[in-house]
């Protein structure tokens, strides 16, 4: 891999963290046969939930934060709990303390104190063709597919290294050739509600580490968020095209690709496959965090038909603070609106056994990351069932 004189100088004369970060990017670049590092305009770093990164992660981040400083605007993935409400949630004190140390380490490095899996809902919206280095698979999928920005599915360490150097190895989804589809999904049913999540779960499994091209439906930005989150969970997918909707669909070459026809029955099967619980003790909304519009819509639904089991709603701190009315409605019926954390990275296994959720991504990860059984269904159906 060839470095620019400035990058090479960073490798020689930079701080310990800069040298280490550059070394990491060069090693990964060589591994994936990149020829250079491409400058990025933002970084989004995963690896902030203490539940997932454990003591090894805390230790590394605190050591690294001694002299690491980010060189581009950097956001961080959700924490393992809401640090403003952890006592009420029954989170052990030691857990909250470790979690706070993780947040402090990232903030010391200069990251925005925003712990969200939806940076694209918080004003970080790279434009068409703009290179970024994001981890968090749903955000990667949204950036590439919906915004037309360019990022690989970075891991926590590689996204952090890119944040510090301000560049990332130029391979995969950064290159035109890496953005071509490998499989076509011909959708022959009307998609609504969790339909987008179900399609994503189905397509991710069939796509593996390829790139899906969808056709046969229209979708709003919010629909694409749920589709992307699910497809990036069940598959190693970092981007999709949707005919006549996403910005790069015209460049996609689909001739000769394998084609999968998706019917309403297929989606019903997916829902059945991911539903293994019988009685839920929690309704959870998030994964990814809800937008302001979504939060208000949920508040209205909950207000109309208050559920008899707890409802936890995950959103960003900014959205929570911007929607006090919606938060009050949800809290009035015993629900909670949690910020800076998200569904499967949060600690909930200390209290619950079966989670009902409309999130495909949540349904995918809740069994392995939280030891939960799952009921995957539309929120309207769930509220009716648990009224």
């Amino acid at each position: 891999m060839r470095l620019t004189p400035k990058q090479a100088r960073l490798g020689r004369e930079g701080s310990a963290a800069q040298r280490k970060a550059l070394q990491l990017l060069v090693a990964l670049g060589d591994l994936y046969e990149a020829e250079r590092l491409v400058p990025v305009t933002s970084a989004h770093v995963s690896g902030a939930s203490y539940k997932l990164i454990g003591d090894a992660g805390v230790e590394f981040l605190e050591d690294f934060a001694k002299d690491a400083r980010v060189a581009v605007p950097t956001t961080v993935n959700p924490l393992g709990t809401d640090l403003q409400q952890w006592r009420e949630l029954g989170i052990p004190e030691a857990f909250a303390e470790h979690q706070a140390r993780v947040a402090r380490a990232y903030e010391a490095m200069g990251a925005r104190p925003v712990y969200s899996c939806t940076p694209y809902l918080l004003g970080v919206r790279p434009g068409l063709g703009e290179h970024v280095a994001w981890s968090e698979s749903n955000a990667v999928c949204f950036a590439n597919s919906v915004l037309g920005a360019r990022t690989n599915r970075e891991g926590g360490p590689s996204a952090l290294a890119a944040a510090i150097v301000g560049a990332t190895p130029d391979y995969g989804l950064h290159r035109d050739a890496g953005r071509q589809p490998t499989i076509v999904f011909d959708v022959r049913t009307k998609l609504e509600g969790i339909g987008f999540s179900l399609l994503g779960l189905l397509a991710g499994k069939d796509t593996g580490d390829g790139l899906p091209y969808f056709r046969g439906f229209r979708a709003s930005e919010e629909d694409l968020k749920w589709l992307g989150a699910a497809v990036a969970s069940s598959g190693s997918v970092g981007m999709f095209h949707l005919e006549r909707v996403t910005p790069e669909w015209r460049r996609a070459r689909t001739r000769g690709l394998p084609k999968v026809v998706v019917t309403a029955r297929d989606l019903k099967e997916v829902q059945k496959h991911y539903t293994d619980g019988e009685e839920a003790d929690l309704i959870a909304l998030g994964s990814p965090q809800l937008s302001g519009d979504e939060l208000r819509a949920i508040a209205a639904l909950v207000d109309r038909s208050p559920p008899r089991i707890p409802v936890w709603v995950f959103t960003s701190r900014a959205v929570r603070e911007a929607c006090p009315g919606a938060v009050a409605s949800i809290e009035r019926c015993g629900g909670r609106v949690l910020a800076d954390t998200c569904l499967e990275v949060t600690l909930l296994e200390h209290r619950f056994h079966t989670v009902a959720t409309p999130s495909g991504k949540g349904a995918y990860y809740l069994p392995s990351l939280c030891g939960q059984k799952v009921i995957l269904d539309d929120i309207e159906t769930l509220l009716e069932r648990y009224a």
């Binding site: 280490k20 070394q23 990491l24 090693a27 990964l28 060589d30 591994l31 995963s46 690896g47 997932l52 990164i53 454990g54 003591d55 090894a56 992660g57 230790e59 590394f60 050591d63 891991g155 926590g156 360490p157 590689s158």
Partner: protein, 261 residues
């Protein structure tokens, strides 16, 4: 013996090999405070990592594995070096963050647990000072979908009594394909053998000897063979039967590379 390798993380280390034949995750696979292997499927459970050249095909599992490698290295209970067949980002990132020398693109068949191994990532090479390389050919004959295997006699130098393909030592600078053709004539007297395919060499160990096996596939027009002193008996088998035989190490991989490589 010296093997070329690709540098992933810089540095040089000298240690005893610890070899896992299966992919490894440092999250759950290694004890973070003791630095021992926990994963049963590696065949190395309980072994300490400190001072070892830890070899496994590739990383797997949680991306937190990078931090786990860092933690072990910081405590001085991590491996002296890492060696993979195909590096992936999790272990590669951990090696860099932890300052652990690491190389990939080496054939794990060349290593057994306990070997002295010197990993020189900066020069892109791995030395096994106590191991002697020995290049050999391994030629499968094929006739109507079946493959010839031979049981080695008590008079050959290695793997006596085990099933193998036609095989022999390479001498000096001779062409492996010529050697394969000659061994076929000597060991089977098969007529009209036609070369079909060669595959990349792979390593297999017998004590302090590392055989560098050059795989070949030849088609023969008939199943008539006449054995010489090197083999006791022969069979024409389907590829699926190979697993049921007491065969020389990695013979299944030799055939697999010829058929699917």
């Amino acid at each position: 013996m010296r093997l070329p390798a690709r540098r992933i993380s810089p540095g040089r280390a000298d240690g005893k090999a610890l070899v896992s034949p299966v992919p490894f995750s440092f999250v759950g696979g290694a004890d973070p405070s003791k630095g021992t292997v926990l994963d049963e499927s590696t065949g190395c459970r309980g072994e300490p990592l400190a001072g070892r050249v830890f070899a496994f095909p590739q990383g797997k599992g949680s991306t937190v594995g990078s931090y786990a490698i860092y933690g072990l290295a910081k405590r001085g209970i991590g491996p002296a070096a890492l060696l993979n067949e195909r590096a992936e980002a999790i272990v590669a990132a951990g090696a860099i963050l932890g300052g652990v020398p690491m190389v990939d693109r080496v054939d794990l068949g060349a290593f057994v647990t306990g070997d002295r191994v010197i990993v020189d990532a900066d020069r892109g090479r791995v030395d096994l000072p106590e191991v002697t390389p020995r290049p050999v050919v391994s030629a499968f004959l094929r006739n109507r979908g079946r493959f010839l295997v031979l049981r080695r006699s008590d008079r050959v130098g290695s793997f006596r009594g085990r099933w193998s393909a036609v095989s022999g030592y390479l001498e000096g600078r001779e062409d492996p394909r010529d050697r394969a053709a000659q061994e076929i004539r000597e060991e089977t007297q098969a007529k009209g053998a036609r070369f079909r395919k060669a595959a990349d060499p792979l390593y297999t160990r017998d004590g302090a000897t590392a055989f560098i096996v050059h795989p070949f596939l030849f088609d023969v027009p008939s199943r008539r063979v006449t054995l010489d002193w090197e083999n006791l008996e022969h069979r024409w088998i389907a590829p699926s039967e190979l697993a049921t035989l007491d065969a020389v190490p990695r013979l299944g991989i030799v055939l697999d590379r010829l058929l699917h490589g």
